[in-house]
């Protein structure tokens, strides 16, 4: 186990290094100039700005300095937000995205497992068809559509009630989180439902289910102990990347509901060529993704002992 963990850790570090390097190269390959603003500056001022952000040095040296600072946990100062440290940006805004993401993924996972199980139980009957329609919609409609509609719904519901049931946008209390997290989790919910459905249908024909039936176990017990537990494995696999994706993919929802998450900085930094913020957020999310995938793998082993043994061997 320890050996396995060490190996995973080594691969994780290598992956993050690769992400950092690829981002650095890609970022510098994009045409455009991070120090350019609508007000043209004189060459002298420009020289000083380049010095401040270390852009006056050769690119290999910039890379070296960057990686060294990153190892020390320092992502530098933002190009576009005067005097603001990238570390502070991540520390202040990631918890917001994470909270929203955890709420979204929490209900999406529970809901997905539940709905997936229901569809498989009612296969080819109307609850199955209804949910499948919902799943297709949930997967194919982008979140900005749901977000706009969700906001309009809040407006309409509030107007109909005559008082403010839920705030239209903003951040600060639990009532601000309800609709955005519902919308954020919708895609994952739909995806997990589909995944769970096919996985349940696969398991239903397995030998051990037939054995269980032959033993005379109640169908409830078969469903919970044997079917669900075995069918949930693929869900765990996608959960790791999904958590990472949902905390990064919240940009549109954050925008429409005026939520101060990290997603906005992540996207805007690329548009504004804010080198340090691009590097900081990408490396941070990369590390987060690696962590989540590793955790999912460990969890996998806990749920299914066979996998644990195989990996050690």
């Amino acid at each position: 186990m320890l050996h396995y963990l060490m190996k995973r850790l080594a691969f994780g570090v290598l992956t993050i290094w690769f992400i950092a390097t690829a981002t650095f190269v890609g970022m510098h390959a994009v045409p455009g100039d991070p120090l350019m603003s609508d007000k043209a500056v004189s060459p002298e001022i420009r020289k000083h700005l380049e010095q401040r952000y270390g852009l006056d040095k050769p690119i290999m040296q910039q890379y070296q300095i960057y990686i060294m600072n990153m190892l020390k946990g320092d992502f530098g100062i933002s190009f576009t937000q005067q005097n603001r440290r990238v570390n502070d940006i991540i520390a202040e805004h990631f918890p917001v995205s994470a909270l929203l993401g955890v709420l979204a993924i929490g209900y999406a996972t529970l809901g997905g497992i539940m709905l997936g199980a229901i569809t498989s139980l009612y296969r080819n009957r109307w609850p199955d068809y209804l949910l499948i329609v919902f799943v297709v919609l949930g997967i194919s409609i982008p979140s900005f559509v749901f977000a706009s509609i969700g906001q309009l719904m809040i407006l309409k519901v509030n107007a109909w009630l005559g008082f403010q049931l839920l705030p239209v946008a903003g951040w600060g209390s639990i009532s601000h989180m309800i609709v955005p997290s519902l919308i954020l989790g919708l895609g994952i919910l739909a995806y997990l439902t589909r995944l769970m459905r096919s996985s349940m249908l696969e398991v239903i024909h397995a030998d051990y289910i037939r054995t269980a039936r032959a033993k005379g176990l109640s169908s409830q017990r078969i469903f919970y102990r044997h079917q669900l537990r075995n069918a949930v494995l693929p869900v765990i696999t996608v959960l790791g990347p999904a958590i990472a994706a949902i905390t990064t993919g919240g940009f549109v929802v954050e925008l429409i509901f005026a939520i101060p998450g990290l997603g906005r900085y992540f996207v805007q930094a690329v548009q504004q060529l804010d080198y340090t913020v691009i590097m900081g957020t990408t490396v941070f999310y990369g590390a987060f993704l690696v962590l989540m995938v590793t955790l999912a793998d460990l969890l996998y082993g806990l749920i299914d002992p066979r996998i644990r043994i195989q990996k050690v061997a």
């Binding site: 043209a40 937000q81 005067q82 005097n83 559509v145 719904m153 008082f163 946008a169």
Partner: protein
């Protein structure tokens, strides 16, 4: 936001989800809570008892240090919390601020500061605070993009270029409340410059305490304006409170300007306005229809920005040919662009580099010196085109590269230009859409034939537009070069007499139109909604817009 009717129907799926997301207990609790606080919750946009309003902004203000800031959003916030020597009154005229009175001639200026002007910690604002701010903005290591706006002060340019120490700046404090400025050369528009944010005072001891983080947090800024930033949660909210030490505090009618929402989505801001959560919201074409349907009062404001087509005048470029430019101008119609293509009310078709609102000697500049009308004439255009082909020795004109932005509006405009040039001149336009910084980089490198450009004025004088086409201007991306034009710019910049200056400006206007240095497209108009009980909001071209310093709740 594109929402089709079909999708809207499907959304009814969401209602049970929203409801099921709450337990019945929670619903009950929220209902009771909301009823108890219904006045507070429904009246967030304005609150007359607490004299507070709520607004939304599009982005986190990127730079709240008055020394280095350049963007309009930061300048809007700073316009409420810092104050320079002069400011703008409710009618957008220059008026006394920290300076009580002044005297300006062609050698320099003297400002007498009011003794009642205070920093937000209660200490007096002195002449030394202005000297410190100006010296710091000019110090090359500060890297202030707007340092050049201080160049009329003696030695400022040399200091900014690192050729002189900062203490050689031509400004002295005769005493704590008398500031004496000497000019590099006569500067007739100097008073207007001192209202610009880079000229705002900064106190040395406070700045030194936060040298590398000044402006990064609410408590790392010292205020001397009508408001202070009481709270700033990055990316989430700002709260401005009335400054108890402000010298004109009796005239400030609002106690709080709450900014609890930061979102660049105009649809979301409009929804917040509809919900009664904010008192002020800009509109775009997408939400305009709904706003009209709701019978909101739609207000208009011309924000001073001019949009135009800038040609690449570099000698190796085909657009350096005058007749080709004339042909292109003769087929483009700003009226059609404004009314049919953009379609949002409020924009004014462009006729000159100098917008309509600029002041001349006694009245508007364009009233005193009307711009020559350009005829839209397709036959004439084809005649110019034939001449251009002959001069260039070309059978046909190769496709032209049109550099533009990535907004939906930019695409609509580009398609209009493409269609018109193809239909009437047979010229192909290759559209090169780029995000802002890449577009700027391409403009600077000269990799375009025509670029869609915009210019917002920095101070209240026609020269802020006029010197844009001076050969030495860094923002002259098309590299238009004309020595006669440069001479007139010099006259307008360094003559005191208004009559001569405006005559020079008129010559500049004539040259630009005769030479088709640019094709003016439109003066930008914005449309917006304002809470019906909120009055006295100043919309202004300079000093930060919108301005709530004179606003009150009826």
């Amino acid at each position: 936001m594109l929402i089709s009717a079909r999708l809207y129907l499907q959304s009814s799926l969401l209602i049970p989800l929203i409801i099921s997301g709450l337990t019945s207990k929670a619903i009950l609790f929220i209902m009771l809570y909301s009823m108890m606080n219904s006045e507070v919750l429904a009246g967030l946009a304005i609150n007359s008892a607490q004299r507070s309003i709520a607004i939304a902004i599009a982005d986190e203000p990127p730079d709240l240090s008055s020394l280095t800031t350049t963007d309009s959003l930061s300048i809007m916030i700073l316009g409420h919390v810092v104050e320079g020597l002069v400011g703008y009154d409710a009618h957008n005229q220059l008026s006394p601020a920290v300076a009580e009175r002044w005297q300006i001639d062609d050698k320099g200026a003297t400002f007498w500061l009011r003794k009642s002007a205070r920093w937000s910690d209660g200490k007096p604002v002195t002449a030394h605070d202005f000297i410190f701010a100006w010296q710091t903005a000019l110090a090359p290591k500060t890297g202030a993009a707007y340092a050049s706006i201080l160049y009329p002060i003696r030695n400022a340019e040399a200091i900014n270029k690192g050729k002189m120490p900062v203490d050689k700046l031509g400004v002295v404090a005769k005493d704590d409340h008398t500031l004496v400025v000497s000019f590099e050369k006569p500067t007739p528009y100097f008073l207007g410059l001192t209202a610009f944010v880079t000229y705002a005072p900064i106190r040395r001891d406070f700045y030194m305490k936060h040298a590398n983080s000044y402006g990064a947090e609410a408590e790392k800024i010292l205020y001397n304006g009508p408001f202070v930033i009481d709270e700033w949660v990055h990316g989430a909210s700002l709260q401005l409170k009335k400054n108890p030490h402000y010298w004109r505090r009796a005239q400030v009618k609002l106690d709080t300007i709450d900014i609890p929402y930061i979102t660049s989505d105009p649809g979301a801001r409009y929804n917040l306005f509809k919900a009664g959560s904010i008192a002020f919201a800009g509109l775009n074409a997408e939400v305009l229809k709904d706003a009209l349907k709701n019978r909101y009062k739609i207000r208009r404001f011309v924000d001073g920005v001019l949009f135009f087509l800038e040609f690449n005048h570099r000698p190796n470029r085909i657009t350096a040919n005058l007749n080709l430019r004339r042909a292109i101008q003769a087929v483009l119609d700003p009226d059609v662009l404004v009314n049919k293509v953009i379609g949002i009310p409020g924009n004014i078709p462009g006729k000159s580099l100098f917008p309509k609102w600029l002041k001349g000697v006694h009245q508007q500049f364009r009233v005193e010196y009307p711009a020559k009308e350009v005829e839209r004439d397709y036959d004439l255009a084809r005649h110019y085109l034939a001449q251009a082909k002959q001069e260039l020795g070309l059978e046909s004109i190769p496709p032209l590269v049109f550099l533009t932005g990535d907004s939906p509006n930019a695409s609509k405009e580009a398609e209009y230009f493409q269609r018109v040039l193809k239909r009437h001149l047979g010229i192909d336009l290759k559209i090169d859409k780029q995000i802002f910084k890449q577009r700027l980089a391409r403009m600077k490198a000269g990799s375009f034939d025509i670029v869609s450009a915009g210019w917002g004025p920095d101070f209240d004088d026609p020269i802020t537009f006029g010197n844009l086409f001076a050969s030495w201007n860094e923002n002259n991306h098309g590299q238009y070069r004309n020595s006669e034009y440069d001479r007139w710019v010099a006259v307008a910049e360094n003559t005191i007499e208004p009559q001569r200056r405006m005559a020079a400006m008129a010559e500049m206007q004539r040259i630009l139109i005769d030479e088709v240095a640019l094709v003016p497209l439109y003066e930008r108009g914005t449309i917006y909604l304002q809470h019906e009980r909120l009055k006295g909001v100043a919309r202004r071209i300079f000093g930060g817009d919108p301005y709530f310093g004179f606003a009150y709740i009826e």
